[in-house]
């Protein structure tokens, strides 16, 4: 197990380097340093000298990969890639382009808000989805199943934006049950969290319940279940004891990957509800073209994805001891 994890971590390095190179190319090709300077400085009274100055101060006055003006090692180190993108590899996120804010500090400050929304949505969501999908799988073929699946399909055919807009309008404005948007720290956050969580769960109920129902049904169609049934076991026991246990693998595959992303937040939800989390941080950075932040968030995203993959593998061994990680 330990060697397995070490090996996976080592595999992660080339992937992270690849991500880093790709984002560097992407971002500096889209947005030359001159573009960045102009966006950051605004359009009033801008002269070419100011632009040059800005680039110099922010370290964007260098070539992308090879600096021919320097000697020796400096040829590589005195470059945008080495000074701006490479430090991400050792988790040095640097400062934002717009106002020199320390990005790592900002991430530390914002992740709690993201998690305050994402974790309840995740837990309540999983509980709800599994309950309803097992219910439907249990009652398969009955009217309950047919209507349930129909409702799921209807619900997943509605755009996420409608859930948010409608939820804010109905619960916030008409019923006045929750603050329409906003956030507060600590326990005071509770009243701000309920509405986004509610909408988050309702918004994904359709797709998820349908997915898990299929997983259960697939499991129920397998031979060992038939054997169990033939042995005269009650359907309940078959479903909850055998099917659920064996359905854990596909469920885990789906679920565990998303755990690290809880920290990453939901881009759209945070933006609509003015939640000061990492999602709105990223959206704002895209809006204001602060590529130092976008680069950092892309990198963080890939890191979390890889973490999710490893976690999934580990969780397999816990769910089913027969699986061994070599």
């Amino acid at each position: 197990m330990f060697t397995y994890i070490t090996r996976r971590l080592l595999y992660a390095i080339p992937i992270l380097i690849g991500v880093n190179l790709l984002t560097t190319l992407l971002f500096f090709y889209v947005n030359t340093p001159d573009d960045m300077a102009r966006t950051m400085l605004g359009e009033k009274n801008l002269t070419p000298e100011i632009v040059e100055n800005w680039k110099k101060d922010h370290g964007y006055d260098k070539p992308l990969f090879i600096n021919t003006k320097e000697d020796g090692l400096s040829k590589v180190t005195q470059t945008i890639f080495f000074q701006k993108s490479a430090p991400l590899l050792w988790l040095d996120f640097g400062s934002s382009d717009r106002n020199n804010v320390d990005i790592a500090e900002e991430i530390r400050g914002r992740m709690w808000a993201s998690m305050a929304i994402a974790i309840p949505t995740f837990i309540i969501g999983i509980a709800t989805f599994l309950t309803f999908s097992m219910l439907l799988a249990y009652a398969r073929g009955t009217y309950l199943d047919i209507w349930g699946v129909t409702l799921c399909v209807v619900m997943m055919s509605v755009s996420a934006l409608f859930y948010i807009i409608g939820g804010q309008f109905f619960f916030g404005k008409m019923l006045k049950l929750f603050p329409i948007s906003g956030y507060d720290t600590g326990l005071h956050a509770a009243k701000f969290v309920i509405l986004p969580v509610l909408i988050g769960v309702i918004g994904s109920i359709g797709g998820s319940v349908r997915f898990y129902r299929t997983v259960f049904l697939e499991e129920l169609g397998k031979d060992y279940i038939r054997t169990a049934r033939a042995k005269g076991l009650a359907e309940r026991t078959v479903l909850f004891k055998h099917a659920l246990k064996n359905a854990m693998i596909p469920i885990l595959t789906n679920v565990v990957v998303s755990i690290p992303f809880l920290f990453y937040g939901s881009l759209i939800m945070e933006s609509f509800f003015a939640i000061p989390g990492l999602g709105s941080f990223t959206i704002d950075a895209i809006g204001s073209q602060d590529f130092a932040i976008v680069r950092a968030m892309v990198y963080l995203g890939s890191l979390l994805y890889i973490a999710g993959l490893i976690l999934t593998d580990i969780s397999y061994t816990l769910a089913d001891p027969r699986i061994r990680l070599e």
């Binding site: 005195q78 320390d102 006045k176 720290t185 073209q289």
Partner: protein
């Protein structure tokens, strides 16, 4: 297991109800209250910000959302009178409004109305108030030997410190002329990128050389550091860990002199009467040197405790908490000297109750909370629920808020009037315009044909309709570059643009010329029915950076208008950078921009069309690349004049030239409408002053009462939903039970 299934739904429901109950318990009877219970009834002013400020350093800040915070904290020498109109400057941190003295080449003093050409030096002696103290701040704390206490701070010492308020030791300091001088020197600091440095370089004696000398110093320091560190040198990281503080005293700056502790002198290279307006902007507010030595410490920078976030000022308020992702809080500065509320205003200000607090010591509010609200709809709804004290009106909320009176005047709608909400309108010293690229082969050029082409387009872009649709009538179609309320803007027939409008004698208003007239002009320009001499359709490209969804109707509107005379408008929406690049290179035909005046003077608008500022040639602000020798000649004369009748004459001439050449389609000047809750007092719109918070007053009793009244929750739909859920659950349970008794084979 059976029990498990049965309890699922009601279990969830009860959890939900419990959660609701908790919420209600916390907030007594208004569960949608976004504020903490402990803040109820306190003398707090609530407002919003849509975009976090980027810089609160007065040497950098240059946008409205920064000024509305900054102006409450920093005090430049002069300010705009809150009540008087036209706008008048009065002293703020200065003891009196400085009057310039002019000197000729021979050093002799000249009279105030001397012609600009004769003036060799303009000298401003600025006396500052005595006994003004800064807010308490750790930067001023001293150790026993009198040295700055928090210097050479380490990461470890900052463990429990998130914002400056967390430092145990704080102190204050008296304001002296050194602080003003230090700030003006900072404006020339190459590391700060002061946005108005190019302008100031033109006027302040020796500032240009001073700034260049500092630039050299900075380069030398960087080169030395690079040499020391070697190939791993990373300038940005290095300067974050160990910020460079330039020593300004090494170089001479003859334009700025210290006379004594309470007087300093600014010398200009030429006459520039508008300079006094700059002295009202935060650029010229005092900056104590302690602040910079304090904030320029690596460990603090790493914690994002910087001058850009936590200003140190002498103003009525100080920064208390700064979380740009959520809220920004200002509190009353306990060291504020106490400024009396003005006792003179406009004629009917007394009747409006604006003089009730005359002579009382400001500020009236204890704390101001600004909440981040990016989306317009939640912001507006929360205002209607009484959770914000002041609100601008989005175009789409307009009809709910405002009713046009039959005489064209505006009134509040009954619903809002009933809520005792007050309407505040003011004219903005800004203009929105669409410009042509004068260098372009098709739309540019100065021949008669090209003029006519642009004039035809100017007629069909019906800004009266634009204002109706997109600004709900909140604006005035412009006749020239100068917006309402600025010297040189003429009213009525005299101010009409005869190219695009004609005078309707019956109604006594200017009426836009008809589409037929535009078509005629277009035909004369060589494009009958929008086709060139070969019969090819005339296509004009419209460049913009309007990626937001709300702007797509605007683009469609422009396309629709151009179609009226047969011109095909090709829309090119790109991101802001590409757009800027196109403007900078002159690689465009037609664009839409806005300009917000720095100070209420026509020069600040005309310079946008002066040849010396042409974008492609000089990188200046003249995006249309307009260059007309006669106009430029007149601009040189008018630029530095006082606002006399003679100046007006020149301005009129310049406006006529512009109207004829039509390098811009004169757009409109916006009218700002905002709403104030009935419990907010002493509100008068002032589009020049930013430090208006100190005048405001909040009736907290009334606010608490009305909030309660407006926010009674509606609970029956929840009950109805619960009943419905149970009704649905019953057949479901029956089905499951049946299934269970069937042994699973349904």
């Amino acid at each position: 297991m059976k029990r498990h299934l049965n309890s699922t739904i009601p279990g969830k429901l009860s959890l939900f109800i419990a959660l609701l109950a908790i919420t209600f318990a916390v907030n007594s009877c208004t569960p949608n209250d976004p504020y903490r219970a402990e803040d109820a009834g306190k003398n707090i002013y609530y407002s919003t910000f849509a975009e976090p400020p980027t810089h609160l350093d007065p040497a950098r800040a240059y946008s409205a959302n920064e000024y509305r915070l900054l102006a409450q904290i920093y005090e430049p020498p002069v300010q705009y009178h809150y009540l008087k109109r036209p706008y008048e400057l009065i002293p703020l941190s200065a003891a009196e409004v400085p009057a310039p003295k002019y000197y000729g080449k021979d050093g002799r003093e000249l009279l105030g109305d001397a012609t600009p050409q004769l003036v060799h030096r303009a000298v401003y002696d600025i006396k500052i108030k005595k006994g003004v103290f800064y807010q308490d701040h750790p930067a001023f704390a001293k150790d026993n030997s009198g040295r700055q206490l928090y210097r050479g701070i380490t990461d470890n010492e900052l463990k429990n410190i998130k914002i400056p308020r967390d430092f145990p030791e704080k102190a204050t300091k008296e304001l002296t002329s050194d602080d003003f001088i230090y700030q003006i020197q900072r404006l020339a600091d190459p590391g700060l990128h002061c946005p108005i440095l190019p302008i100031l370089n033109k006027y302040i004696l020796g500032l240009d050389d001073f700034s260049k000398a500092l630039d050299k110093d900075l380069k030398n320091i960087r080169a030395a550091r690079k040499k020391r560190i070697g190939s791993t040198y990373n300038q940005v990281a290095d300067e974050k860990a160990d910020p460079i503080i330039l020593d300004y005293s090494r170089h001479a700056l003859p334009g700025i002199e210290k006379i004594d502790d309470y007087t300093f002198r600014i010398t200009l290279k030429r006459k520039y009467p508008q300079f006094i307006y700059w002295l009202a902007m935060p650029f010229f507010s005092p900056m104590p040197k302690e602040a910079i030595t304090f904030y320029s410490q690596g460990p603090l920078k790493k914690k994002n405790i910087t001058i850009n976030r936590f200003p140190i000022g002498t103003g009525a308020f100080r920064m208390d908490n700064y979380e740009p992702q959520r809220e920004i809080t200002l509190v009353k500065n306990e060291n504020f000297r106490g400024e009396p509320y003005p006792s003179i205003g406009e004629e009917n200000d007394a009747a409006k109750g604006l003089l009730a607090d005359a002579g009382k010591s400001m500020p009236f509010i204890e704390r101001a909370v600004y909440k981040l609200e990016k989306e317009a709809i939640p912001r507006w709804n929360k205002f209607l629920q009484g959770y914000f004290d002041l609100s601008g009106i989005g175009s789409d909320s307009f009809d709910q808020a405002i009713k046009m009176g039959s005489a064209g005047g505006v009134n509040l709608s009954e619903e809002l009037a009933e809520k005792d909400i007050k309407l505040i309108t003011s004219i903005q010293p800004s203009t929105y315009y669409t410009g042509f690229n004068m260098l372009d082969d098709t739309v540019g050029g100065y021949t008669k044909e090209k003029q006519k082409l642009r004039q035809a387009i100017s007629i069909i872009i019906n800004f009266e309709e634009f204002i109706e649709i997109f600004a709900n009538g909140r604006g005035m179609a412009a006749m020239g570059p100068i917006p309402e309320g600025i010297f040189g803007k003429l009213e009525g027939r005299a101010g009409m643009n005869t190219v695009t409008h004609r005078w309707d004698d019956k109604k006594n208003i200017a009426v836009r010329r008809s589409v037929e007239e535009a078509k005629k002009l277009l035909a004369e320009a060589g494009y009958p029915n929008g086709l060139d001499k070969d019969g090819r359709p005339l296509i004009i490209t419209f460049d913009n950076a309007w990626t937001g969804a709300s702007s797509s109707p605007m683009i469609n509107w422009f396309i629709k208008r151009f179609k009226l005379i047969g011109i095909q408008l090709e829309n090119r929406t790109t991101d802001y950078n590409r757009f800027q690049e196109k403007i900078n290179k002159g690689n465009f035909q037609f664009f839409f921009l806005g300009w917000n005046a720095d100070y209420p003077d026509p020069e600040n608008f005309f310079f946008l069309l002066a040849g010396e500022n042409a974008k492609v040639k000089t990188g200046g602000a003249n995006g249309a690349n307009y260059e007309n020798p006669e106009f430029d000649r007149l601009f040189k004369i008018m630029e530095n004049m006082e606002s006399t009748p003679k100046r007006l004459e020149i301005i009129n001439k310049m406006t006529r030239i512009l109207q004829e050449d039509a390098p811009w389609v004169w757009g409109y000047s916006p009218l700002s409408f905002s709403l104030a809750q009935g419990w907010v007092g002493n509100i008068k719109p002032n589009s020049m002053a930013n430090n208006t918070l100190k005048y405001m007053k909040v009736d907290t009793f009334k606010r608490a009462e009305l909030r309660k009244k407006w926010n009674a929750p509606v609970l029956w739909p929840i009950a109805a939903a619960a009943v419905l859920l149970i009704l649905v659950a019953i057949p479901a349970i029956i089905i499951i039970k049946k299934k269970a008794s069937n042994g699973g084979r349904g």
